[in-house]
């Protein structure tokens, strides 16, 4: 109960870590006992060896995917914020654009990615665009929501002080919307890695998705697993990064228990 914050964080991770360790040991033992060929199911030790022997290759392709994710997410962030602000500011834009944005989400990415490949080729751009398209929606929608939840009474207080529209936006609407925008950003960053890899699977010459496809074709299953581990670590790490940024930028959130 009265453990330090660090102690509590540690306690939260002890059990999942223990379960994971048990699973890995069970996996290793089961593979050795049953003599399953390594190209079908490599034991964790073989995957660990692949991390060492293939580290240059894995690193090179990780950098490519990370670049796609960073560019795609940034693009989506800028576009999502701008569109969200525009929709909030203009009732006409809201009626014109908002339904279209929501409808656009019914178009499956599976259908769009090959199109982007035809238009933009095998390079970086189509992957960045797939990532951005996947990230855009949660950011834009949560920006609109966040700007809407701004307390009307707080806005009228600012108005009664003689605040300009810009001051009302800067001092109330913008900070009030940040928690919601961060929620959108966390969802988006979790999607972003999937988006980038999906873009690579459709057609690429580099990146973790490409490496996975090639490793699978060559029955380099241990390397395939290594790439999967990196991918999930990437997803978890980026998610944690956004959460950390939220804690640093919105320190007051830790004390707000109810929305009064």
């Amino acid at each position: 109960m009265n453990a330090s914050p660090w102690g509590r964080t540690l306690a939260r991770w002890v059990w999942p870590a223990a379960i994971l360790a048990l699973l890995l040991i069970g996996w290793e033992v089961a593979v050795r006992l049953t003599n399953v060929p390594a190209w079908q199911l490599p034991p964790p030790s073989a995957i660990a060896r692949s991390f060492v022997s293939d580290h240059a290759l894995l690193w090179k392709h990780t950098i490519v995917t990370l670049k796609e994710v960073a560019l795609g997410f940034s693009l989506a962030l800028v576009a999502g914020l701008l569109v969200g602000i525009a929709i909030d500011a203009s009732p006409i834009l809201e009626r014109a654009i908002y339904p279209l944005i929501i409808a656009s989400q019914t178009i499956p990415m599976v259908a769009l990615a090959p199109l982007l490949l035809i238009w933009f080729g095998y390079g970086l751009l189509p992957k960045v665009l797939v990532t951005a398209l996947v990230c855009f929606f949660p950011i834009a929608v949560n920006t609109v929501d966040g700007l809407r939840v701004a307390d009307r009474e707080m806005l009228s207080l600012l108005k009664s002080m003689g605040a300009s529209s810009w001051q009302q936006f800067r001092l109330v609407k913008c900070p009030a919307s940040l928690p919601s925008i961060f929620t959108g950003a966390r969802i988006a960053i979790a999607f972003s890695v999937i988006g980038a890899v999906f873009g690579e699977l459709v057609g690429a010459s580099a990146g973790l998705g490409y490496l996975m496809q090639r490793s699978a074709a060559q029955f380099q299953t241990a390397r395939l697993f290594a790439a999967i581990v990196i991918l999930s670590a990437l997803g978890v790490g980026l998610f944690a990064l956004v959460s950390l940024l939220e804690r640093i930028l919105l320190p007051w959130r830790r004390f707000v228990t109810d929305e009064a």
């Binding site: 009664s160 002080m161 940040l178 320190p251 007051w252």
Partner: protein, 282 residues
């Protein structure tokens, strides 16, 4: 017509401005009607009274009598449908009244993402002081508001009474000569309420702004105000204006004095709360 009310300090100890000076606030035949679900509702009817410089006026009435609407009208947040609002003798249009008075509501409306200090400095920032200067001005008055040591606390970490004092400091720091207070103690428990009333009175004795206080508490109105304006149920009309003849500075004991009880009887009568048959008339 545009009247710029200059921000100024009110440290002069003279209790009241010379009678020749125009009132801080003049309300002339204010009507307010709004439409709700296709029906037109009259909230206020023919409200006329003045508040002199340095005068404390309380406004009481049953809920729905348009008290808050009247404050919104004076603050410029809401346009009256008839009548004039004058500040310092000059009629001012609704939108141009924005920022002319300091307005405080029942909810403290502290911005949760600003520390106590930054919340107190908010109005100064809006009025164009740079942030450093605004913070310094707010910081100088933290001890006086019983907030020393809580400068960097988030609003969520403060008690209700402290939050309300931060909101008060924010209001007072605007240095507007007219304060509009809409049930500022309404959300507090009885003890904090009484403590803050005395505290507000002390503060006001030093600053002497013109105050228009909305309350539903008769004792609070008598204890604080020079005059108490009683509104009727909807549509809010002026039922009675009670001049409070209690000496200042006032202390808590005054609430048991005979004069206090007489004012109380008169006000309860005007509110129709004493005799069931006769409503109060002006």
């Amino acid at each position: 017509m545009c009247v710029v009310v200059p921000p100024r300090l009110h440290n002069d100890r003279t209790p009241r401005a010379a009678s020749s000076a125009p009132p801080r606030l003049t309300l002339r035949h204010i009507d307010s009607t709004y439409t709700e679900r296709g029906h037109s509702v009259q909230a206020l009817q023919d409200i006329s009274f003045d508040i002199a410089d340095g005068e404390f006026v309380a406004l009481i009435g049953p809920s729905g009598s348009g008290k808050s609407t009247l404050l919104d009208i004076v603050a410029g947040l809401f346009a009256q449908t008839g009548g004039d609002v004058a500040l310092d003798g000059a009629v001012v249009a609704t939108r141009e009244r924005l920022g002319a008075a300091a307005y405080m509501r029942q909810r403290d409306l502290l911005l949760p993402w600003r520390t106590a200090l930054d919340n107190a400095a908010l109005a100064l920032e809006v009025h164009g002081h740079d942030r450093r200067e605004a913070r310094q001005l707010a910081l100088d008055r933290f001890p006086e508001f019983g907030l020393a040591g809580f400068e960097r606390a988030w609003p969520a970490q403060l008690s209700g009474g402290m939050r309300q004092r931060v909101a008060f400091l924010r209001t007072v720091l605007t240095e507007r000569p007219l304060l509009l207070l809409d049930e500022p103690f309404g959300a507090l428990d009885a003890l904090s309420r009484v403590a803050l009333q005395s505290w507000l009175l002390d503060l006001w004795e030093r600053e002497r702004q013109a105050v228009l206080l909305v309350t539903h508490d008769v004792d609070e109105a008598i204890f604080l105000a020079d005059r108490v304006v009683v509104l009727t149920p909807r549509p809010g009309r002026i039922a009675h204006i009670e001049a409070i003849a209690l000496p200042r500075p006032r202390h808590r004991e005054i609430v048991t004095s005979a004069a206090f009880l007489q004012h109380r009887a008169a006000l309860l009568d005007a509110l129709g709360l004493l005799a069931p048959a006769t409503g109060g008339t002006a």
